[in-house]
Subunit: 405 residues, 2 copies
């Protein structure tokens, strides 16, 4: 019998207990022994839950119990999750987490602490919910240089964008529906403003490049300004509007950002709809791989937490390498102005303006979305170059969306 503790008995915490119970037989087979939840740390009581008698309110009970070999942190938020994680690692306990905020903000420090204390800190559930992505990037893709990672990393915004596309609806209306259906929170800012996706893309960037960037500092644009005109433009060009977290290296520096993109139908991520997530990894040998699945939700996310628990408990005797990250210095971070891609500009103008815009942006791709409004897709260039090219012919864009090829 191996004893673990669960910190935070909310959606993912209680889901983790459920996965451990539902799939006990196979989990025991993997680990060689039964995995038992000895403590659940929460401010609340759960008198009606079968594990209600495991609830404690003092982290020290867990930290001081040598029987507890692993702590699963699913509290959400930075504090006190960070302090509890730190204390558990110092107490020589392995930690697994679904908490992207803690990993994105304190990952370097916590991985170092884990290393110093000869335990592991795993966080498969922090990005893409239940989708295998963290471990595959560290193992299966270990033979590849990572060229770029581009992902639909937030289910709420993808649900909203999918409904806007399918129903021709506007953002505010669909947000209300999503809230009524429980797919968006009463305060949806972290999702719709792109902050959740920003935390996830900095974790993926750290996995790819070994450098962890403060998520609050990366260019982050959500979907609150997306209108029916954006969706109509995408449709006209055979694309979908998707909120994309993207990272790549530019001249040895790391670029990471979150913003809405146009994604052509030829890109497999364009078909990732509703609350699903999809993550593209471009590599120098394998080429492009896509990982797709449930990016959130109780049992999917819990299944990733339990996969980490199994990974640790089935190899307890071994010391395993942990990712060696460093915190980003300003010199590590590429400027947004240097990010080269194709971009779609929606411009008010006549057919002659459209012809001029095509020439200025070096492209043949141009469609009138409605009378007097055309969408033109530039060749690969920096935003500055494109804006200057348009300004030189007296044109100004209503909006601009990068294109994910």
């Amino acid at each position: 019998m191996m004893q673990i503790a669960i910190l935070g008995f909310g959606v993912v915490g209680s889901g983790t207990a459920e996965v451990l119970t539902e799939n006990k037989k196979l989990i025991t087979a993997h680990c060689g022994e039964e995995v038992s939840v000895k403590y659940i740390l929460d401010l609340r009581e759960f008198p009606d839950h079968p594990l209600g008698d495991r609830v404690v309110h003092d982290i020290n009970v867990i930290l001081n119990d040598p029987e507890v070999v692993l702590v699963a942190e699913m509290m959400g938020g930075s504090h006190p999750a960070y302090e509890f994680t730190s204390a558990a690692l110092k107490a020589g306990k392995h930690v697994v987490t679904s908490n992207k905020e803690v990993v994105a903000n304190y990952g370097v420090e916590l991985l170092t602490l884990a290393r110093e204390n000869h335990v592991r800190y795993l966080f498969e559930a922090s990005v893409g919910g239940g989708i295998p992505i963290i471990r595959p990037m560290q193992t299966d893709l270990a033979s590849n240089e990572i060229i770029a990672v581009s992902g639909i990393l937030n289910g709420t915004t993808n649900f909203i964008l999918t409904k806007m596309k399918n129903e021709g609806a506007e953002f505010a209306d669909v947000l209300k529906q999503a809230q009524a259906m429980g797919y968006a929170e009463a305060n949806p800012a972290a999702d719709v403003e792109g902050l959740d996706a920003a935390r996830k893309i900095v974790i993926l960037a750290a996995l790819a490049y070994g450098v962890l960037i403060d998520p609050k500092t990366i260019p982050t644009e959500g979907i609150t300004k997306i209108t029916g005109l954006h969706t109509a433009t995408a449709d006209k060009l055979g694309c979908a509007v998707k909120l994309i977290g993207h990272t790549e290296r530019i001249d040895g520096k790391i670029y990471a950002a979150v913003s809405p993109y146009l994604v052509p139908a030829s890109n497999p991520i364009s078909h990732v709809d509703d609350v699903f997530n999809g993550i593209l990894v471009d590599t120098n040998m394998l080429g492009r791989a896509l990982f797709y699945g449930a990016g959130a939700g109780k049992l999917p996310t819990a299944s990733a937490v339990v996969a980490d628990i199994i990974d640790i408990l089935s190899h307890r005797a071994e010391e395993r390498k942990l990712p060696d990250w460093k915190n980003a210095a300003p010199a590590d971070i590429a400027d947004k102005a240097d990010y080269i891609c194709r971009r779609c500009y929606l411009i008010e103008g006549c057919p002659q303006c459209a012809a001029k815009a095509k020439a200025a942006l070096g492209t043949e791709i141009c469609e009138f979305v409605e009378d007097g409004k055309f969408a033109v897709v530039s060749r690969e260039m920096s935003e500055k170059e494109a804006t200057a090219a348009l300004a030189s012919i007296g044109l100004q864009a209503v909006f601009c969306l990068p294109v994910l090829d």
Copy 2:
């Protein structure tokens, strides 16, 4: 410096040497030491290759060299690859392979040999080329019961089906094009008859259920009988025709088969086109995950071989659990007749016949593909039940395709 040997210097073998050279810096960082190819076993000489001086023709040189800790087998075919693998494991050398034929035919025996000799036998490259699937199924999905696995596992046939769909062309013509472009072999039987996919699906079934089935015994149907009428039918129903390897449990037994399916656009695998592969895994906690990427090709497949090499060499001190498979007994294998799914029947008949067929198959989904030919999609039922239902109203199908939901 860690010394390895490459068996077979064809496409994947030479690709493996290329990945080891191209990405040497990061591979060395992962393994802690440089990985060096000490020997290449091949019948041929490669005087112009930078590693031409490593070529040997006698496996015993490799087996008897204690410096060689790992053998990468990429010979293709069962013999002598099986014998060499077996001998290498007995000599206490780790083995990694891209050879699906050997894994599908001798996996149980070779995994047992590896266990007995305290070495590992890894085969990530044997299914899905470079796509991470074997290791994610063993680690990330370890917390889940596997309900089913359904995959586009063969790039050649997917290329042909994609071209048939996009160009309305017939099989024989597209096959000739594929051969001219190097996407299909001069003798394309293993691909177009479904044998290659059969080997891969039995490996995935073994990973999911621990039982390895002889690939020659599973129901296997290729794409040679697919015509423009199939593609037109698929199109009419908003589907694509895809060659699918499928496995699931039926009443405690294991069903595994390869055949063409109709895949609705709502299924993400329907958008996996050209030579790409995509593998859906349905699980009891995570739900559905999709793994997508280059399912074949020199560098993609080699990148998976090298990922296995890194996995082993970066944890050399550890004894790791290997999958514990057994060979299937007849009693382990489910009967095709018990496989329940929706099926599309193309039937010659009038609108009244169509109405009768809908009632008999318990469905509202029915479209005329051309004059006097309608396609009706049954509710979920066994093939026997559906055939009997159609016979009872005097109807017989021109063809039947299962539907992958």
